[in-house]
């Protein structure tokens, strides 16, 4: 699979989020603040979001990596690392 750049990943991320929380548009959500501070995502919403990311991108996101999925930019950075096959260090 060809590697996606950050912009494409960002687009895919919002596309995955849309059916779950359509109010979370790129205009509404800042990339540098925790996603769940800005929009209401309950635990089920969040799990569905991660599942949708996996389905859309074909990238495995193990449960143990969920602490990486905080801001839009952090998720993009994480997905880039996963694409390259590197496993990010555990979140602090």
């Amino acid at each position: 699979m060809t590697e996606m750049d950050a912009d494409s990943l960002r687009q895919a991320l919002f596309a995955a989020l849309r059916p779950i929380a359509p109010e979370a548009t790129p205009e509404e959500v800042r990339g540098d603040l925790p996603l769940r501070d800005q929009i209401d995502l309950d635990s089920m919403d969040f799990l569905h979001f991660v599942l949708a990311l996996h389905e859309r991108l074909g990238i495995d996101i193990p449960e143990s990596d969920y602490p990486h999925l905080t801001t839009i930019e952090a998720i993009v950075a994480y997905l880039q690392q996963r694409q390259r096959g590197t496993v990010p260090p555990p979140a602090a």
Binding site: D40, D42, S43, L47
Partner: protein, 590 residues
């Protein structure tokens, strides 16, 4: 291989399963009396009872004063230990601040906050002041918040700056009784937002000594909102005397012992998070863990292990999410301190009970109660054999039965075992709700004779174990929370494209039920994926993720009875592909 098939129907307990002697055994069941239980509480010096005295002051003035009462774990790391002595001082300051604002006995103080220490200072300070605490869930949207503040005649709202901007600013002016908004986390500065007060600044000017308001058993302490099928949410009022039930259930249903580290994962925005996330552990003088973060499987295992949690009270939805993450993640750590796990919110499926054995080497103990009961009523306790799937047996001092309603409006108690009917409770336990605020008629309708009718359908087996069957009404039970379909329908109807809305609970393997809405559109609007998402976003912005539908479908018209009521049961039957039942009252065109 069907694993369930080889599992016995009963998990029998032996003395080897008990790491400590359970507080509740046959002897205690036989000798139980409320007066004896009451003697284990202090009462206020000079008479009366106040939850804040029993939870905080009596420990802060005694041998446990330097014991950690609350251990707060920050979302991004960091930890804060708050001793009973410190909790006493901080809640005294908040109580003084309230008094300084002219807020007194019986006035209602609302709190809408993430799980931060100030939330707990607010709760306990409010009780000290004799004011009534009403916690709201921070995942509510502006509409549910406005509705509840208004119904509860809120005088004070304590919230955070972020939540205020997102959810309160747009509706605060519409709550006529609201006098003060206090913002947590704005530092010492005041006026972060015009017209609001800063929590820290307010407390900085307040003294650390406070004489608790002289409340008695029947004085209101807590106001918890719950949902019915129709109409507005219902504000269930609880009194200071409820502390007795919180104490008894902490002792017997959760088996709290003096040295326990207890973790209730429920948010104080719901009744479980108040009764058992704040009150019950403090009544017993144990250390209570508060995690600011949202659910995260890895994080939760880490907390259980590193904080040496000994008693853990959680919910079926969370357990099923942990199950999804795989038992290996659980087994990657050791939990030598953990000795008792309980669950509440909706029935715990047998697989989840057994999963506890696999993951932690002990079953998970389901129990049952509701907002109206104020505390646990029916439970699987440590000394009991467990029948996975059953909510257990009534606790001491609790009398339950199954009833059938008859056509004349009366009820008959069902004596036979294994017969489905409505679960009813003999009225009069200490934490029984004392009213639905401003809705006396709705309150009265919950009682017949000396019984409180729960609205839950259940059956009792020949060993006296109760089994949940379903709700007797259309209320949706999602992730342990009751959601009123009417509240969701009303929000959807505010969208100009929507002509009618009908909302049901759709069975979901993880959360029990999810909210699904059916809508019909006004002329000039066409069903489309785009409109579906627009409506979903519209509902989520108004209602918040906790209440908004997860799924929306279009229908040309919604089925209605001849009297015009939307037939949610028919929508649900169709959704599930079930027989549609008696449709004789259905409108011809539907």
């Amino acid at each position: 291989m069907n694993v369930a098939a080889v599992r016995p129907a009963v998990i029998a307990k032996t003395p080897a399963d008990q790491r400590v002697v359970p507080n509740l055994r046959d002897a205690e069941r036989r000798s139980f009396s409320w007066p004896a239980m009451r003697a284990e509480l202090d009462g206020l010096p000079g008479g009366g009872i106040n939850i804040a005295w029993e939870t905080v002051e009596r420990h802060a003035r005694g041998a446990r004063r330097e014991r950690v009462a609350l251990r707060w774990l920050g979302r991004t790391g960091g930890r804060r230990d708050i001793t009973y002595a410190e909790l006493s001082r901080a809640s005294n300051r908040f109580a003084n601040a309230l008094r300084g604002l002219g807020i007194g006995k019986g006035d209602r103080v609302f709190v809408l906050s993430e799980r931060v220490p100030e939330l707990y200072f607010t709760a306990l300070g409010t009780l000290k002041n004799g004011s009534v605490l009403s916690p709201l869930f921070s995942a509510f949207g502006p509409e549910p918040i406005r509705t509840r503040l208004t119904l509860g005649d809120a005088k004070v709202l304590v919230t955070t700056e972020g939540l205020y901007r997102k959810k309160v600013a747009s509706i605060a002016a519409g709550v006529p009784t609201l006098q003060h908004v206090v913002l947590i986390g704005t530092g010492q500065g005041t006026g972060a937002i015009e017209g609001t007060l800063g929590f820290d600044a307010l407390l900085a000017g307040a003294g650390e000594e406070f004489e608790i308001e002289r409340t008695v058993e029947e004085d209101p302490a807590l106001l918890h909102f719950t949902s019915g099928t129709t109409g507005t949410p219902k504000g269930a009022l609880h009194v200071h005397g409820a502390a007795l039930m919180h104490y008894m259930t902490g002792k017997y249903a959760l088996d709290l012992h003096a040295e326990d580290v207890f973790w209730c994962t429920a948010d104080p925005g719901w009744v479980t998070g108040t009764s058992y996330g704040i009150i019950a552990p403090l009544l017993h003088g144990v250390t209570s863990i508060i995690d600011e973060a949202d659910f995260d499987a890895q994080r939760w295992y880490e907390i259980l292990a590193t904080q040496a949690v000994s008693v853990w009270y959680t919910a079926p939805t969370a357990i099923r999410m942990l199950m999804k993450a795989g038992v290996e993640l659980a087994r990657a750590r050791r939990y030598p301190a953990l000795r008792f796990i309980a669950s509440v919110g909706e029935p715990l499926n047998p697989e989840a009970v057994w999963w506890g054995q696999e993951a932690f080497g002990m079953p998970i103990h389901d129990n049952w109660w509701q907002t109206e009961t104020g505390g646990i009523m029916i439970a699987n306790t440590p000394d009991m054999d467990i029948k996975p799937g059953s909510m257990g047996r009534p606790l001491p001092g609790v009398q339950a039965c199954i009833v059938h309603r008859d056509a004349a409006g009366g009820i008959a108690v069902v004596d036979e075992s294994n017969v489905e009917g409505e679960l009813a409770l003999k009225a009069g336990w200490p934490s029984m709700f004392r009213g639905y605020l401003h809705q006396e008629e709705r309150y009265r309708k919950c009682f017949l004779g000396d019984l409180y009718l729960t609205g839950d359908l259940a059956k009792r087996d020949r060993d006296g174990y109760y089994w949940f069957v379903g709700r007797a009404d259309d209320v949706i039970k999602s992730a342990g929370h009751l959601i009123g379909p009417f509240e969701v329908e009303s929000a959807l109807m505010e969208h100009p494209a929507v002509a009618e809305a009908g909302v049901i609970g759709k069975p979901d393997p993880v959360s029990g039920e999810t909210v699904k809405a059916f809508v019909s559109l006004h002329a000039g609007h066409e069903p489309s994926e785009e409109l579906k998402l627009t409506l979903l976003g519209f509902a989520r912005k108004r209602l918040g993720a906790a209440v908004a539908p997860k799924e929306i479908d279009f229908l040309a018209t919604l089925p209605r009875t001849r009297s015009g009521k939307i037939m949610r049961r028919l929508l649900k039957a169709r959704e599930l592909g079930l027989p549609e039942g008696d449709t004789s009252t259905l409108e011809a065109s539907a």
